[in-house]
C-alpha cells in the first residue's frame, strides 16, 4: 500500500482542490484521508455520509472539586501553563490553558483535583460520492492533540485500504510545519508539494520541504497560479531542480478553481482543459508510487 501526502507549507495554494480532484480521478482505487483536522474542507466537495463516527479521546483536563479544596494554592504554584485561576479564594481550571500534565493533581494535599480524559473530537469512516471510502475528522476548538488525531485518521485509512485491498491512500495535509504536518508525513511514500510563485509560497515551500527531506520522503511539486510571477516561478523551478524534486505540473492562475468550489464540484468536474492537465499529473503520481 502506498501513501500519497499533499502538503504546502502555505495555506490557500490549492491543496484541497487538487487532492479532491485526485480523489475523483482515482475513484474506487483510492482511500481518501483528510488530515487537515482543524480546518477540514474536503467533505464539502466529496460528500461523505458520516456513516461511522468514533469519538477521539486524548489528553486530560484537571478538575477541582470545590468541596475538597482548602484553597492552599499549591496547584497554582506548580502549574507552568497559568491554567489555575483564583478568584476570591476559589481555585478553578482554565480549560483552554490546561495541558493535562497532571502536576497539580499530584501535589494537591486535599486530593481535590482529578484528571479527566478529554473528548477532543471525532473521526468518521465514510463512503463518498466517488464510491470509495474517506476517513475524516473534526477537532474540537482549541484542542492541542491534532497530531494524534491525524495519526488516528491515517491509521483508520490504512486499515480500510487493507480490508478493501486498495493500493493507494491519498492524504490531504494541513498548512504549516508543526505536529499535524509531521504526523501527516510519517510513513508517506510520496509527498506532493503544492505551491505558488509568490514570495510567501516559495518561502513556505522551502520550509516544509526541509521537513520532507528530514524524513527522507520522495517529493514532487505542483506549481499552481504559475503565471502570477514569472521571476518567482523561475526561482521555484530552479529550487526543484536543485533539490531533485520531481516537477509534476504547472497550472495557470484560474478563477475556475473558485467557481468549481462554489458549485460544490472538484476542478476536474468543472473545467475540461484543466481536467486533461490534472489527469496527466495524477497518472505521473500513481506511476511514481507504484513503479518499485
Amino acid at each position: 500500500m502506498k501513501e500519497i501526502v499533499v502538503v504546502s507549507g502555505k495555506g490557500g495554494t490549492g491543496k484541497t482542490s487538487l487532492t479532491a480532484s485526485f480523489a475523483v480521478l482515482g475513484g474506487t482505487d483510492v482511500i481518501v484521508a483528510d488530515c487537515d483536522v482543524d480546518a477540514a474542507d474536503m467533505h464539502l466537495l466529496l460528500e461523505p455520509d458520516f456513516a461511522r463516527e468514533e469519538a477521539f479521546f486524548s489528553g486530560e483536563l484537571a478538575v477541582i472539586d470545590q468541596g475538597q479544596c482548602s484553597g492552599c494554592g499549591r496547584c497554582a504554584e506548580v502549574c507552568r501553563f497559568d491554567a489555575i485561576r483564583v478568584d476570591e479564594g476559589i481555585y478553578t481550571v482554565d480549560d483552554l490553558g490546561c495541558e493535562g500534565c497532571g502536576y497539580c493533581a499530584r501535589v494537591c494535599p486535599d486530593a481535590a483535583i482529578t484528571n479527566i480524559e478529554q473528548n477532543v473530537g471525532s473521526f468518521y469512516r465514510s463512503t463518498i460520492r466517488t464510491g470509495s471510502s474517506m476517513v475524516h475528522a473534526r477537532l474540537k476548538i482549541g484542542a492541542d492533540n491534532s497530531g494524534k488525531l491525524v495519526a488516528k485518521v491515517k491509521k483508520a485509512a490504512r486499515q480500510l485500504a487493507e480490508q478493501q485491498a486498495k493500493e493507494i491512500v491519498l492524504v490531504d495535509g494541513s498548512p504549516g510545519i508543526g505536529c499535524p504536518v509531521v504526523s501527516s508525513l510519517s510513513g508517506a511514500s510520496l509527498a506532493v508539494l503544492v505551491t505558488e510563485p509568490t514570495v510567501s509560497g516559495i518561502h513556505d515551500l522551502k520550509r516544509v520541504y526541509q521537513l520532507v527531506k528530514k524524513f527522507g520522503i520522495r517529493a514532487g511539486c505542483i506549481i499552481n497560479k504559475a503565471d502570477l510571477n514569472p521571476s518567482v516561478r523561475e526561482d521555484l523551478r530552479a529550487f526543484l531542480e536543485h533539490e531533485k524534486i520531481i516537477p509534476l505540473m504547472e497550472i495557470p492562475y484560474d478563477e475556475a478553481f473558485t467557481a468549481a468550489i462554489t458549485a460544490g464540484k472538484t476542478i476536474v468536474e468543472w473545467d475540461a482543459s484543466l481536467r486533461t492537465r490534472i489527469e496527466g499529473c495524477w497518472s505521473t503520481i500513481t506511476a511514481l508510487v507504484t513503479e518499485h
Binding site: 482543524d38 480546518a39 506548580v78 507552568r80 498548512p175 504549516g176 509560497g201 497560479k225
Partner: protein, 288 residues
C-alpha cells in the same frame, strides 16, 4: 492594545491585511507588527527594517543525570505525555513529546532530571521609522508552535507599552497555535474569502473567538469571487463585516512579488482604512 488577524482557513489574506494595516497605521502613530505564524512566518517578506535584536528561544526539557538516579521509575510514572522512559540501566527523555511541565524534574526524589534549555526557534526584532516588527520562527522538526508563540507574547509585553497598537499575524486553523496567538488579543479580525471553504472555516473561527469571549469582526478578501453566503452569515449572526478587499489579478501579482497594496491599489487602502477605524473606535471603547 493587541489586534489579532486570524482565520480558520489558510491563505485567505491574513498576512496581506496584517502587513498593509501595520504599514498604514505607522504613518500616523507608532505600531508593532508581530508575526505569530511561527511555523510559516511571512510578514517579513513584505517589510523592511533595521536589525534591532535577535535571540534564540528555548523550551525547558529534563536532562537525565545518572549519578544519583536510583531508577525508581517515578519520572515515567508522573509524565502524562510518555516523554520519559525508564529502562533497565538508564532514563530516556523524548524532547518532542515533552510539554515542559516540570513534573518529572521537580518530583524526582534524587534531583536527577534537572531542566535544561533546548532551542525551539529564533525571535527577530526589526525597526523602521514608526514600525516595530517582531517575528518568531520555529526550527524545522519542532512540532509544538504554542510555546514559541507564548514566549513571543512575553517579549512583546516586556518591550512595548500596553497602549501601543500591536497587530498580530496569527496562524491558520482553530487548534492550539491559533488559540495561543489570539487569546490575549483585545480585538480579533477574521479574514475570510467568499467561498464554501472560506465560510466553513470562518464558522469554526467564529465559534473559537466566541468561546474565548473576544470582540471580533470579519474582513472579506477576494470579494467578488464565489457567492454572498459569507456576508449573509455575518448578517444573520450579527457579526460586524468591517471591510471587503476586492478580488483582482493585479492584487495577486503585487502580493506575489512582495509588494504593499496600500501604495498601489486605492480600493485596498480604503478597506485597510476601515479596519484602522474599527481599531480606533475599539480603543475609544466604542462599537462592538
Amino acid at each position: 492594545m493587541k489586534v489579532a488577524i486570524a482565520s480558520g482557513k489558510g491563505g485567505t489574506g491574513k498576512t496581506t491585511l496584517a502587513t498593509n494595516l501595520a504599514s498604514y497605521l505607522s504613518r500616523t502613530a507608532p505600531v508593532a507588527l508581530v508575526d505569530m505564524d511561527v511555523e510559516e512566518p511571512n510578514s517579513a517578506l513584505f517589510l523592511s527594517g533595521n536589525a534591532h535584536h535577535q535571540e534564540t528561544k528555548s523550551k525547558q526539557i529534563p536532562q537525565w543525570h545518572a549519578k544519583n538516579c536510583t531508577l525508581c521509575g517515578n519520572c515515567q510514572e508522573v509524565c502524562n505525555f510518555n516523554a520519559v522512559l525508564v529502562m533497565a540501566k538508564r532514563v530516556m527523555v523524548f524532547p518532542e513529546l515533552c510539554h515542559s511541565c516540570y513534573v518529572c524534574s521537580e518530583l524526582c526524589p534524587t534531583q536527577s532530571l534537572p531542566m535544561t534549555q533546548k532551542p525551539m526557534g529564533e525571535l527577530t526584532h526589526l525597526k523602521a521609522d514608526n514600525l516595530d516588527f517582531v517575528e518568531s520562527r520555529l526550527l524545522i522538526g519542532e512540532e509544538q508552535a504554542a510555546p514559541l508563540i507564548k514566549q513571543t507574547h512575553d517579549y512583546v509585553d516586556a518591550n512595548f507599552l500596553p497602549e501601543m497598537i500591536k497587530i498580530l499575524d496569527s496562524p491558520p486553523g482553530t487548534a492550539c497555535p491559533m488559540i495561543e496567538a489570539t487569546k490575549d488579543a483585545d480585538l480579533v479580525v477574521l479574514v475570510t474569502e467568499p467561498t464554501p471553504f472560506g465560510l466553513h472555516d470562518l464558522k469554526l473561527a467564529v465559534e473559537t473567538v466566541r468561546h474565548l469571549g473576544k470582540t471580533f469582526g470579519v474582513v472579506i478578501n477576494r470579494d467578488g469571487i464565489g457567492d454572498d453566503a459569507v456576508a449573509r452569515y455575518c448578517e444573520d449572526e450579527n457579526i460586524k463585516l468591517i471591510a471587503r478587499i476586492p478580488n483582482s489579478r493585479r492584487i495577486a501579482e503585487i502580493y506575489a512579488r512582495g509588494g504593499l497594496l496600500i501604495d498601489e491599489v486605492p480600493a485596498v487602502k480604503d478597506a485597510v482604512a476601515l479596519v484602522a477605524t474599527t481599531i480606533q473606535d475599539h480603543l475609544k471603547g466604542g462599537t462592538r
